[in-house]
Symmetry: C2
Subunit: 336 residues, 2 copies
Amino acid sequence: MGVTIKDLAREAEVSITTVSRVLNNKPGVSAATREKIRRLVKIMGYNPNSIARGLVLNQTFLIGLIIPDIRNPFFPEMARGVEDRARELGYSLIYYNTDKNREEERKAFDLLLSKQVDGVILSFFSWSIKKTLLKLNKIQYPVVRVDSNLKKSIYPSVIIDSISSAYQATEYLIKMGHQKIGHITGRITSRTARHYLIGYKNCLRDYQLAFHKQWLVRGDFEHQSGYQQMKELLRQQDKPTAVFIANDIMAFGAYKAIAEMGYTIPDDISIIAHDDIELSSYLIPGLTTMYTPKYRLGIILADLLIKQIKNKNRAEIDDVVLKSTLVERGSVKRLR
Amino acid sequence: MGVTIKDLAREAEVSITTVSRVLNNKPGVSAATREKIRRLVKIMGYNPNSIARGLVLNQTFLIGLIIPDIRNPFFPEMARGVEDRARELGYSLIYYNTDKNREEERKAFDLLLSKQVDGVILSFFSWSIKKTLLKLNKIQYPVVRVDSNLKKSIYPSVIIDSISSAYQATEYLIKMGHQKIGHITGRITSRTARHYLIGYKNCLRDYQLAFHKQWLVRGDFEHQSGYQQMKELLRQQDKPTAVFIANDIMAFGAYKAIAEMGYTIPDDISIIAHDDIELSSYLIPGLTTMYTPKYRLGIILADLLIKQIKNKNRAEIDDVVLKSTLVERGSVKRLR
DNA sequence: TTGTATGCGTTATCAC
DNA sequence: GTGATAACGCATACAA
């Protein structure tokens, strides 16, 4: 196919060893030959075959990125962060969307390992795949995870502290004078959704507000469910005055439901959500939400993974806990 | 690192050739040994090294996907289509975000070729890179492009006919009784933006409506500019009654601008946009826009590319033209 | 039915 | 300064 090191050697009338030396900027080549080969590289358009390089070095400079679904607005931000930093450090990314499907997650691992990626980034895995992870750990295979689990893992993780984040959101509503606070959950099979629920409940408890079962409705992180569940909430006799919605996407649906039923935000009902995706500031009124540093998350993931790749010894398992921060816009009303 | 074909051979007490045969389901192995090796594969957890495989087969089953920015909501949909179909056919994807930056685009090519990808998908390149493409074409390197250029290229393309699409959008406004029609353009350096402008102008001409320079304002495909440019439009004495906005994202900004200035959609001003990203139906009122089949676009791209990869001979250059279709929601008012 | 030998493009070891 | 040569893991032409 392309021009190889061998072609260069023939053309320059030297051995491939010499060529390899100048390509890798190693000493032991006269300035003259070095120059000659450099010129040839340009003229002949040589591009190193990193596949062959990977075979001998046992390193491909490839990283596997396993995510649930790139169409979820959370992930492009994160992925871009990973990619930018990874490229900066000389690595490329192979993506794998799993839809949080166990079988796909398993396949993703096999495939990526087969492609000899130097490490893999796992985000929001639906199961712990403990066995696989243990096996990888034994052979010192670099992995980082992003999750909302505070428990120590055998691999470094970036943790989004969803419990505290949900707590903050709820607390904000309370401080704004709300007492009747509802919650639209995420897909409850996900740990993140369960953590939000815990944070919400903890906060109610700490502020001695009764937990009303009818104000807790189940969404699944998709707009559709935000729409439906908000309608559910609004149909009730005794409505909440504020709702904590598990993500911005569902808030979009909720906005629509509220408008359709003739209510207005924040006068009739206040909304706080989670994530702060890019379009949320363009809702009317602007969505008050918990900002999660998605791009930065990506940067950190790349750093953590590549650090592992470089330190074969793998001394520290340093977890990073990422805090979400409140972004006040116009969707929460101060009561009384 | 992992267990290799050699390990299997040693364990099974056969040659690596035999092992290779059963791994690739080739004939010429007794059922007994075949079975024995198959068992060993499971027990020892063998995972083929596709890097080594790629070296000898001269095929990596890797595809390069070059896009401007995965954070633009258009691309996750498309990328997911590519990935799903590619995986189905046994290929994985390396992503490369270029931000439409020439230097990055050039680097992307070098990197991807160096990774020995079997082909590359180019979407919305900012320049023609004719020289590179010609060189690749000479060595029969598989490439597909997605663009809005109807001109024949040396490589197969999926073409989004933006001129006709903008024409349709404008025509729809006219048929709804509008005569005073504005346009917020995309970043005018992009061909797509220019094509929208052409379609818009063509339509005005065909319906004998005068083109008013002050109703043509320049955006850049980002919400921010939709917001600003819509304000610009609304500040005018003689306002348009309807505006064709070059993409949904800018329409989000425009909605906000309109609300802030105390106008309502569609009573005071009608809006039609382009793309139909997922959240657009949740705007209030729902955004009327031109739907572009982004996921399907991805599927087609993967098919076209892999077809090329398989037919080394590369008989046909079949372009595919994708039409956008109108999605009527609530942002355009029928006049009179 | 099975095995030997060679090569893919590159780097590393060792010799000259 | 330079060059043979082996090796990485795998597939395959050719022998046996």
